[in-house]
């Protein structure tokens, strides 16, 4: 920048030069943009080819059959449509278990996340030297997919909702912790100073000075996480923990003849997810003051 603001002696030549520079820059920009587009397209295309090769069934065969399975399920469900309400009632307890896993793990994870995030925010941390350590801990917690912990815990604790709950809570603590600490950074430090001046301890300062400022944002993130965790707990059920995912796998691996159950579970899951999506987005908007 500095070398362009020279004396006005050769202003005319300067303008020409600036224009040339600008055009050259625009050209390189376009070139880079074009190159990136080419690289991106090449990546997508080669990735597609590799994925297609390594898949058991090819893409082009599969595309034609994509509606076969839903059609089978639907036709069987239509035949036994009278069963559906009964089946939905039958699977309600499993659905409640799935929701319980999601809710309990969100609560546990959020509590851990609050503590971790307070410990890893500059200005709030109890041990400022350890901020980096707590951040790395959260990174690792976030990086471990739920299924890893769930599968290992199923081996130790046996099947059931507890492995899924612990696994999801662990991941939630890391994911929410990061979001919470971003919220914390915007919190005003003045209430903290006030509290400190009257001799409040660290937990008191956090509880009375920080939490009330950030609670709406915390809640909003936690609600979003709850939505995500419902899906996660359904999936973990499918690989061996309890809940509706487990029933789905049983009905699904039974194959034809139980597709009415598959349909009922699909429907229950769909309705639940849509319901919680809508409710939570409504309350989230209310919490952060958007319309």
């Amino acid at each position: 920048m500095a070398d362009q603001t020279m004396s006005g002696a050769d202003a005319l030549g300067g303008v020409d030069r600036i224009r040339e520079n600008y055009l050259a820059m625009a050209r390189t920009r376009r070139l880079y943009g074009g190159l990136m587009l080419v690289v991106f397209i090449a990546l997508m295309a080669s990735g597609f080819i590799v994925a297609d090769e390594r898949n058991a069934g090819g893409f082009w065969d599969g595309v034609l059959n994509i509606f076969d399975f839903p059609a089978e399920v639907l036709s069987e469900a239509r035949e036994k449509i009278a069963n559906l309400p009964g089946l939905m009632v039958k699977f309600l307890p499993s659905l409640v278990e799935t929701l319980n896993i999601a809710a309990a793990s969100t609560l546990l994870g959020a509590v851990a996340a609050v503590i971790l995030s307070l410990l890893s925010t500059r200005g709030l941390a109890r041990y400022p030297a350890l901020i980096g350590v707590f951040r790395r801990i959260m990174d690792v917690m976030r990086a471990i997919p739920e299924i890893v912990i769930a599968l290992v815990l199923i081996f130790v604790l046996g099947g059931g909702p507890v492995p899924a709950m612990i696994a999801i809570a662990f991941h939630t603590a890391g994911a929410l912790g990061k979001l919470f600490s971003e919220v914390n950074e915007n919190a005003s430090l003045k209430p903290l100073e006030g509290l400190e001046s009257v001799g409040a301890t660290w937990p008191q300062r956090m509880w009375l000075g920080v939490i009330p400022q950030v609670a709406p944002n915390y809640l909003s993130y936690a609600l979003l996480r709850f939505e995500i965790n419902i899906r996660a707990s359904a999936i973990l059920g499918f690989v061996g923990s309890g809940g509706i995912g487990y029933d789905l796998r049983n009905a699904f691996s039974w194959g034809q003849g139980r597709y009415d159950e598959v349909a009922a579970i699909f429907l229950l899951l769909f309705l639940t997810i849509v319901f919680f999506d809508q409710t939570s987005s409504h309350y989230r908007n209310k919490l952060v003051g958007r319309v």
């Binding site: 299924i147 130790v156 359904a234 899951l269 769909f270 849509v274």
Partner: protein, 449 residues
Amino acid sequence: MAMAEAARAPADLKAQALRLFARKRLLSFGAPAAILAYFVYVFFAFDIPGLAERARMDNAAILVSDAYSYKTHITHDNRNGGLTMAVEGENKGTYPKGMIPDFVTMTGEDAARIALPDGYAAEIEGSTLRFDVPDYGRIVVRVEGRDIELDLPTETTPDWISASSSRVDITTPGGRAIVTRARTEVYRYRFGWELFWFTLDSPFYGKSVGELASLAVSDQQVRPGVGNLAAMAHDFWNNAMWRHKDVLWAIFETILMAFLGTMGAALVALPLAFVAAANFSRFASARFLMRRFFDFVRGVDGLIWTIILSRAFGPGPMTGALAILITDTGSFGKMFSEALENVDDKQIEGVQSTGAKPLQRYRFGVIPQLTPILLSQVLYYLESNTRSATVIGAITGGGIGLLLTQAIITQKDWEEVSYYIVLIVLMVMFMDWLSGVLRRRLITGGGEK
């Protein structure tokens, strides 16, 4: 009038403030109480008291000790004779003829002395096992016809020995020995992941880093016709015990699933988002339908899409990529259309005033405003989908998720499980880092911050 109002106001205010306080107090005590009550309910609904019974702490012990140590099996075949030594008792880890572990001394054709840590020692002679325990004495186990005889230095059998006429199992901190009619076997535990670099059949097995480095630069070819470094790479890559090749391919497949799925979803969702955005789509019915379509695709969970697609495409990375693509089309469509509704009209008008056609208006008036938002969301999803791809791989059968579930189902290769877990964590952290770098590069357009 005015005076009456003024008199009422403070009283009102006070009442209002009191009501507020009461509500606050209720909330600050009620909310924790409600959460606590919920946990009490969950405690019983999840049968946590019964968990202690069901929990297999012995499994946990196996898991932890296997994760950082390995065992070498010294086995005598009591039916056909012959002594074999194998890492983890696996075929792939069997010591070839003429090669024995450093803690074994052969004392005869079918006899070997095995040095165990902490002063323990074992000796196999034919089918007979002699096991020396410090401060206890020598245990002798013999296979006599159909029975197994146990000779102890004490009258009572200690609790670390389980014995019956068909099986004797000695578990000590120094090692483990099992004698059945079929075989006499000693396990020796050691710290580390054995054979991680080279298997026993490789000429590079057991060499130190220094030796390997000097081999790598020396002209003497260990395997004629192949450079030493290439031979090392080949032996490592094709390691039958740890299957580095398959593992790396699986990681690549998982990342591929996430990449194809995320980018594909963004490409599909972008044009659809224009239809769903109020300021770009003139037909309210089309808008409504598109939004319901997004809701539907998001509502039918990734799990259900995965199941449906795995029926059509079979196991593999393509199925996973498509499942991610379909689910995220809904999320992206919703987010993109919201972003589109928030674009600044002034820039579009400016472009329009130069005589730009509609397509040019989108290209120069809308896309530049949108790119940072879109890119940051897409990159964020790329990272989170790497994790989803692991889970989807476990369901459909592809990528590192499949390897992980397989290794866990066999319930013995815990060192492989921990290897995979480390790799998964590194993979996700790498994608996290990569998406962060790209986000900074592409959005702030330069190196600063």
